[in-house]
């Protein structure tokens, strides 16, 4: 009886039909171009607003978490427990003078932050946050997301070069070397999930985890891929313990040493949103995205889990991974450059290749947990 | 006459990009610049494959595979070229192709 009831609930509540904003735009394009333009504008405004709000929230959370890891309190003055500190900082950054160094390459100096923020936005629009909350759902989503993330590092290289400053240049070169190296590991662990799910489309990858998330359906392989992804994407984000491109004790800020005001805030925002994207991607690929915690066959349990809305599931998982990344940041010291490269080329890369091979074997033999 | 892109529009576009690349290969002094011009050539060749695939043999995918191969070859070429430039720069302190003429008799 109970089982039947929850079965009904699943049928009514969790009809996971994917309607993204870009689908609506394409539909409207056939009928009314103005409506399509409206949808496109809505999407842009939504993404822009979401981007800045999320950035400010993440900065606040980072400061608070960092403070409590270090026996401090963090921002406490502006608003309740410093909630409005990020707003105050944003206003301060907007009002600051925009300085361009005298001998800098002006054109490149001005467009570098734009590159960074565009890359971030392009990555953000692909994340499926709930069945209906995804701006674009490309069928090559996984490839696209790792492709656009390279624009960001191009922006960093531009910034470092055009500042005409040795520290910026060093930081940029470190960023480039680090990115190219760790991109391989990220792609290898993305490929593992692509093999499991049999699709490059992010929404389909989420759908494929209806009976269980890949991190434990693909047992050891999924777990290894998850950790390789976490480590390598932390390195790609230039976050500690891999923050050599902006190691402030050596490079006084690295590639963004010469930036100030709004342009600096672009880099800053891009960095934090990239952290969100990486976490959301890890949640989507390995932890089922917005898919509730399901165990194949147990309808009652699954029905109970479906009561929690999918957006909340996504937010919870992403928050968990963001917290994990912050936790790592405020625990470990920074690596040296040679250690960084050794970790990638002598450890993560072989592990990634072996793992990919194991994943292929797993897919052929269908030895997942819950193979139905 | 229609402005919506047809086969000849696409072909002219890729040809223009190719001839710009030829100009660059012939006139650039910096070796890295020459490499970039070669990338332009390769890119427009890959585009041509896709154009013909799209317009002449739509149900098949061979042109796309050729484009993939071109991209892979371009990657290999860029890696080798960069290694060569770094090695040349280390010994000659320049990458100006008009001055790297030791092999000339």
């Amino acid at each position: 009886m109970l089982d039947f009831l929850f079965g009904q609930l699943v049928a009514t509540h969790a009809t996971f039909d994917v309607v993204t904003l870009s689908d609506r735009t394409t539909q409207a394009l056939a009928e009314d171009p103005w409506l399509a333009a409206g949808y496109a504008l809505l999407g842009l405004a939504g993404v822009g607003g979401f981007l800045s709000l999320l950035g400010m929230a993440l900065i606040y959370v980072e400061r608070k978490v960092a403070a409590h890891f270090q026996c401090r309190l963090g921002p406490m003055r502006v608003g309740w427990h410093g909630m409005l500190q990020s707003v105050a900082d944003a206003i301060k950054l907007l009002l600051k003078e925009d300085i361009i160094p005298d001998r800098a390459d002006r054109v490149l100096f001005l467009i570098a932050p734009v590159f960074s923020i565009i890359a971030t936005t392009l990555g953000l629009i692909l994340i499926p946050m709930s069945p209906s909350l995804q701006v674009v759902d490309l069928n090559i989503g996984v490839i696209f997301i790792s492709a656009v993330s390279s624009f960001g590092v191009l922006g960093i290289l531009l910034a470092g070069w055009s500042s005409n400053n040795k520290w910026s240049l060093l930081g940029a070169m470190r960023a480039g070397a680090q990115f190219i190296s760790y991109e391989i590991s990220v792609t290898l662990s993305l490929l593992v999930v692509t093999l499991f799910a049999g699709s490059l489309q992010l929404s389909e990858i989420v759908q494929s985890q209806q009976d269980g998330w890949w991190i434990w359906r693909g047992h050891i392989v999924g777990l290894v891929a998850f950790f390789v992804f976490l480590i390598a994407s932390t390195a790609e984000l230039n976050r500690p313990p891999f923050d050599l491109p902006e190691a402030e004790s050596e490079l006084t800020g690295g590639f963004h040493t010469e930036y100030s005001g709004l342009r600096f805030s672009f880099f800053f925002l891009a960095e934090f949103i990239n952290m969100f994207i990486a976490s959301a991607l890890a949640a989507t690929l390995f932890l089922g995205g917005w898919m509730p915690f399901h165990i194949g066959g147990l309808h009652t349990f699954n029905g109970l889990m479906d009561l929690i809305p999918p957006g909340l599931w996504f937010a919870g998982k992403t928050t968990f991974i963001i917290f994990l990344i912050m936790w790592v940041r405020w625990t470990f010291p920074r690596l040296r450059v040679d250690q960084l490269m050794r970790l990638e080329w002598k450890f993560l890369l072989p592990v990634g290749f072996i793992n990919l091979f194991a994943a292929a074997t797993l897919v052929i033999t269908k030895l997942y947990f819950f193979p139905w | 006459m229609s402005f919506s892109p047809e086969l000849h529009h696409w072909l002219i576009l890729s040809t223009i990009l190719f001839s710009i690349g030829i100009y660059g290969v012939l006139t650039r002094r910096n070796a890295v610049g020459v490499l970039m011009s070669v990338e332009l050539l390769l890119n427009s060749a890959a585009m041509n494959f896709l154009i013909f695939n799209h317009y002449a043999s739509k149900p098949f995918i061979d042109g796309a595979i050729m484009a993939l191969f071109i991209i892979a070859v371009a990657a290999a070429e860029a890696v080798i070229a960069m290694a060569l430039f770094v090695a040349i720069f280390r010994s000659r302190k320049t990458v100006d192709v008009t001055q790297i003429n030791t092999l000339k008799g």
């Binding site: 403070a67 409590h68 026996c71 401090r72 309190l73 405020w330 470990f332 | -």
Partner: protein, 233 residues
């Protein structure tokens, strides 16, 4: 466990400034430990990383470990540590009499001349006593030498740390509240004289009040707007 294998280490001698110096270079990996396998290294590193993460999360989940003081709000309840060196202060007993008799030891002990001490002779007892104790906070390094030098335990550190002022000259303090006999003079005078209470009264009458900013300022310059002029004598 031997740390350096003497057979494998290379020896050489160089001469530094006419003195021969032996140099022993220990070979790599000669610390007596076995070379560890890959899995052992992996296990150890993961374990140590997890240990670090356990330590930090321990701080995060226990708010009692927070050491930050919410300063202006908790001004009433804020207590500084016992050994905190805020400002120099003269020790006073319950009647408000100080221990200092102006013996000059602290002034001589001060390495950077932050203490300037003037004494005078008491007209009643004929003993030397403190006229004015000037302390320059702006040049003090809080080295504690004056307190160690004091034979009468007349100096101590207070926990007052709110010393910020708008004019540098306001950092020159007169530490004594009064110019006059210290507490042991008064006691001894009582004991020695025995009967006449009026003599003690007379002694106490020689006390003159001193203000915190009442001393001569060693810095030149006119008064700044908004700052009350310093009284100099």
């Amino acid at each position: 466990m031997s740390y350096i294998d003497p057979k494998k280490s290379s020896r050489s001698a160089i001469e530094v400034g006419g003195v021969p110096v032996n140099i022993v270079v220990a070979p790599r990996g000669a610390t007596g430990d076995k070379r560890e396998g890959l899995l052992t290294i992996f296990y150890k590193s993961v374990k140590s990383l997890l240990t670090g993460m356990k330590v930090t999360i321990g701080y995060l989940v226990r708010p009692s470990t927070v050491v930050t003081q919410q300063y202006p709000e908790n001004r009433e309840t804020l207590k500084m540590f016992e050994r905190f060196r805020g400002q120099l202060r003269l020790v006073k007993d319950e009647n408000g009499y100080m221990n200092c008799n102006g013996c000059d030891f602290c002034e001589k002990a001060c390495p950077n001349g932050s203490i300037i001490l003037q004494d005078r002779r008491n007209s009643v007892s004929g003993k030397s006593e403190l006229e004015r104790y000037l302390w320059r906070l702006d040049s003090c390094t809080f080295c504690n030498a004056c307190i160690q030098a004091c034979p009468h335990d007349a100096l101590e550190w207070s926990d007052g740390f709110e010393a910020a002022v708008y004019d540098r000259r306001l950092l020159v303090y007169t530490l004594n509240d009064y110019a006059g006999p210290p507490v042991n003079h008064i006691k001894r005078f009582k004991k020695k004289a025995g009967t006449p209470e009026d003599r003690v009264e007379e002694l106490l009458a020689t006390m003159e009040p001193r203000h915190q900013y009442g001393g001569p300022t060693p810095l030149s310059g006119k008064g700044m707007p908004g700052v009350p002029p310093l009284k100099t004598d």
